[in-house]
Amino acid sequence: MNAIRFYLGRYGRPLLYLAWFIALAGLLPGGAYEAFLRPEFGILLGAAVVVLLGFLAVDMGRPPTPPKPIFGETIRVLILALPLAYLSVGRGVALDSGAFETRWTGPAGATAAGAPQAAPAAPETTAREADLVGLCWNSDAYEGQTVAVEGMLRHEPDVAARYGGNGWLLYRFVISCCAADAQPAAVMLTGEMATNWTDDAWVRATGRFTLRPDQPRPVPILELGALDPMQKPRNPYLY
């Protein structure tokens, strides 16, 4: 027991810092951390790696600590290392309709928020490239235009019951800082759709974008012209 206490006290923290250092350094190349955080956080993670290296260095050269209760210290080390196990699981995951279910608060377009950018009028024959952030949060700039937008499908029969439409939404998660604060930006789809679409299928939708007045917020609607399947993008989030 004394040996465990000695080794835990002497090497527990350095090993913990080493594990965290390896995990964070492993997330940096290729932007793997973007599964969790917005890209700008790479600098902060880099700084964290440097500080962890500093902690590791000073803890390796630290004189032996006084003995601590073995149970408490073991639990503390296990808790501090716990996120490492979850980081490996969450690394290849993206938020999907499960998260949509808990985070969506209803269809919403924003027209009165700030001063929307006036958009050049696009000819009806050419679809203007758009993203769901623009359509939902700067709706005025796209109203009445034919747009092409990418996102995931989500079937919401309640929406169809209240607003009409075909019951499908086109959505994508928008991250402010990290996946924990990501919220869905969604437009309601109207028009004919095949019956074999499934939740979370990635599609490129083309159609006419309109805003339906509603309380408390206007509802963004895409009158479908075309709906094509597409590959999941490397980064599924918008910022």
Partner: protein
Amino acid sequence: MNASGRPIFTNAWGDEILPPPAARSIPWKNVLIALLVAAGWALPLFWGDQAAVRTFALVFGSIVLEALPFMLVGSLIGGLIEVFVSRERLTRHLPRGPLALTCAAALLGLVLPVCECAVVPVVRRLTRKGLPLSAAVAYLLGGPIVNPIVGASTFLAYAGEWRIVALRLGAGYAIAVGVGWLMGRLFARRPALLHATAGEHAPAATCGCEHNHGHAHDHGGGRISARLGAALRHASDDFTAVAHYLILGAAIAAFAQTVVERRAVLELAAIPFLPSAAMMALAILLNLCSEADAFIGASFRGLVPVHAQMAFLLTGPMFDLKLLLMYRTLFTRRAIAALSILILLAVSLAVGAIELAGKAGL
């Protein structure tokens, strides 16, 4: 029975023996903690392919990764304060009167703009250097709101609505000063800070600065490299002392984010008198960073009234599940209870005043 009426214990051969030791009580608290930690490890190892576990892993990992750099930087600042700022220098530069000191401390976020995770280790060190309780609480609560990054993020999230930014920062400042001052009065005669109750002999990790004790001390002299090393050691101690609470809070928050539907909160908010309470509960459950929570608050525009959005924006940076756990590294349980009640009361009063002002057309 013997002569004194006590039972006689014998072994299998009938020899009289000493009574067996009294049955030791099972440490249920430890058993529960061990089971929870074991479950926490078992989930990703054995059920990592389940959709709910993967979403939980993503959210949990995100919260920890987002907070970790700020936490490390906060610990580093705390370590630097410990080594490079002497108690005398700190007190020399502080305002003299307790109210003036509390008012000034609530504005410290303007020069040290850190979020609520990073502020805890900084306050730990500042209190050990002699910062009074009222000022420590004022900085703890005001720092994560009254700072330029939070002001800018709120401005962006609310698409340039200065009124919301001013309301958030102004009310946050008033609450920080009020609660800080009240905590100072309530705990004028009884200890609220943990290091004060542990006294000068509290066991702590070695700082490696020639003396193996945990109490506050100055590192006035020595080479700069040695002092930097000591600062890093203090920072490392602070990080491990606080970070496990952050991780536990993040796990609870990730669980809440995985199961609690925001539409349910909206339904609750539709009941008269409940919008603010529902939004405060949401802030406590979501455990969002104060530098990002404005974007979530803004997503409730039009769905709940402004005062309820303000309840969300004011509560989160001062009081949520992870902070409740992290405060355990700073305060006694009695002080945490008092602080929690005061924060919730103060936020309720502030949002009530905002609601009344709104109805009066101000």
